[in-house]
Subunit: 413 residues, 2 copies
Amino acid sequence: MKAILVIGDGMADRPVKELGWKTPLEAARKPSLNQIAKTGICGIMDPISPGLPPGSDTATLALLGYDALKVYSGRGALEAIGSGVEVSPGDVAFRCNFATVDENLIVLDRRAGRIVNEDASKLAESLQKIKLEKPSDAEILFKNTIQHRAVLIIRKPGLSPAVGNSDPGKVGEKVLDLKPLDNSSEAKLTAEIVNKLMREFHKTLKEHPVNKERVKRGLPLANIILCRGAGTVPNIKPLSQMYRISAACIGATPLVRGVCKAAGIRLIDVRGATGTPQTDFMAKAKATIQALKTYDFVFLHVKAPDVASHDGDIKQKIGLIEKIDRMLGYLLRNIDLDSTYLAVTADHTTSSVTRNHEGDPVAIAITGPCVRRDDVEEFDERACAKGGLNRIRGMDLMPILMNLIGKAKKFGA
Amino acid sequence: MKAILVIGDGMADRPVKELGWKTPLEAARKPSLNQIAKTGICGIMDPISPGLPPGSDTATLALLGYDALKVYSGRGALEAIGSGVEVSPGDVAFRCNFATVDENLIVLDRRAGRIVNEDASKLAESLQKIKLEKPSDAEILFKNTIQHRAVLIIRKPGLSPAVGNSDPGKVGEKVLDLKPLDNSSEAKLTAEIVNKLMREFHKTLKEHPVNKERVKRGLPLANIILCRGAGTVPNIKPLSQMYRISAACIGATPLVRGVCKAAGIRLIDVRGATGTPQTDFMAKAKATIQALKTYDFVFLHVKAPDVASHDGDIKQKIGLIEKIDRMLGYLLRNIDLDSTYLAVTADHTTSSVTRNHEGDPVAIAITGPCVRRDDVEEFDERACAKGGLNRIRGMDLMPILMNLIGKAKKFGA
């Protein structure tokens, strides 16, 4: 028995006036999603707890069976891991941006004009060479990822992730000094090291040949690094230990990949999978069928509907749901439904009106040989609320799936 | 976006034989409650947890979003706060009655003939003057509230609320010595102080001119104070800190007002609101509309249905539900439903047959611009059980409402 868990990121929504108070899921043409609901058991699910709007990181932790309220330790390390950087226990990791500031450290562009990878790589190479002097020295790992995005790892005994951000979060505001968020000497030391490093980075970037070139080309300078989201690797048991399964992740979003990797899930690269609305849905579907030959559990993540929701593009969101539906159609045609469970849900509600993650529950449906089929016929937030799963929590989902495929361990005798 | 939470105290019930096995809510004429159900999302709610009969104090804590099982610290302090007495952290507070005992301290009347406020005030004034001698001395605050009711606060470092009652709870039984409920020196000291004080109170009351007057008028003597429900202020974060909202409470019951005040909710006095079945429902409705201009969240509490249930008066309970319905009609006509969420529920089930709080879940409905409307058409315990909220807990309600009005804080990134 095997299982596939398909996550439409931010796919759940609230009723929208322009859709006659339907949700995008209710408005979409979605024969395959409906088939899963019809042949499966349905319900609604609070990713973390009722009313609490989750981030993609905490929600993914929960959907993989972890108690996010207990194990979550910041976004930085998860994003770094997902970008292919090794983060060890004790390391403090940050999400970083190449950005543009004026001589008074006022932010002019938080993305340095969405600097191209090539420029960012050259700059990162120089930053990686910087060494701090004792006593506030540390091992430094700095890596650019996509465009203006980068990750920074600080390695030294006695650090703490309880520090703020240097990123003020807004254009027109001054770059911040990192502040310790508690009274520990560890937090003070971490803030001190990072503040010193940020000054060194700024000095190096200002004088860098790449920036001299950018001035000539009329491009915004990438003259500062903004950091935020300090975190450590969460202390979690890998799924292989929890359930004795092998697991694979198909998804392009670094943050989600990071959570999966922290959970011991093998990351599979798929050509054309981009984490954007232009992602190659069918390539992901094919890779899932392929992975299912080797792995017990495949986690298939599609970022696109969340992107459309954050843009408030309801029409695009519906279109993307319909693409996910076709992707699911391919899965349904190509899996052995006698030996495979297929679950589909969202990691959270993203309102295409407020353009934010919201705390409303999401729809969930599980089809497969031995589920207790209910009479729900459509996959959406309201129809599924009448299903046989009733209302569950995100962290219940993995135990439910593992139970169906015979991988749950008895508690008691 | 703003929210109103309307609580019909003990409004939920069990099916009653005399009503053809309907509940009072099912039997009542309630067009406005039904309108809220019809235009809203419905469910059932366990105030604390399934099967657990809550008190009004623990239920109100839960409905305000607190984990009552963790933060509840006795009724005494909450009732005292609700009566307008300041209670500081560390103080131990008791609920007290003026009562009548014979010369052997056997209770003859637990309410001293429901002594009038005027007599109780004179007696309380004398009791407040009593000073205890060292080492078992303490700062004493004694205040009569309504009729035979009073509150007592003991202030001194090193006290504990882990003490029993002096009130035996029944006529014909002897007044108790307060017992420490654990082996701590704090509990022992607290019991010792209160026992000494109770003896001093008894001495003063016996000889008091007010009681000499009462004998002449043929009234029961108010010759003893019975105390019970030792408690401290709960250690809870105010709602303003949890959600960055301003909140107001419209309700007359001291205990509920105490919980609200402990939660940082502003108490609004309404002329004619009495906490009894004779309360002025429309005055409360008007005060709610008024408060909504200033506050993000209004907590509107109606004690009456609980009173009728405790009296086993089913007909009165139905009549009071119908009055609450008319109060809700006024709210529905006077709020802006594009920017206001209106939730209605009960704090617990009170059976009008057993005349006790019971652990059955209560009905809940929330209407407002962006709820996922379900197809429930009536507001009662059974109809709402088929609604889109399914089954939630009392402490989930505030996060759900705060999420709807955009005041929930994202967990994660």
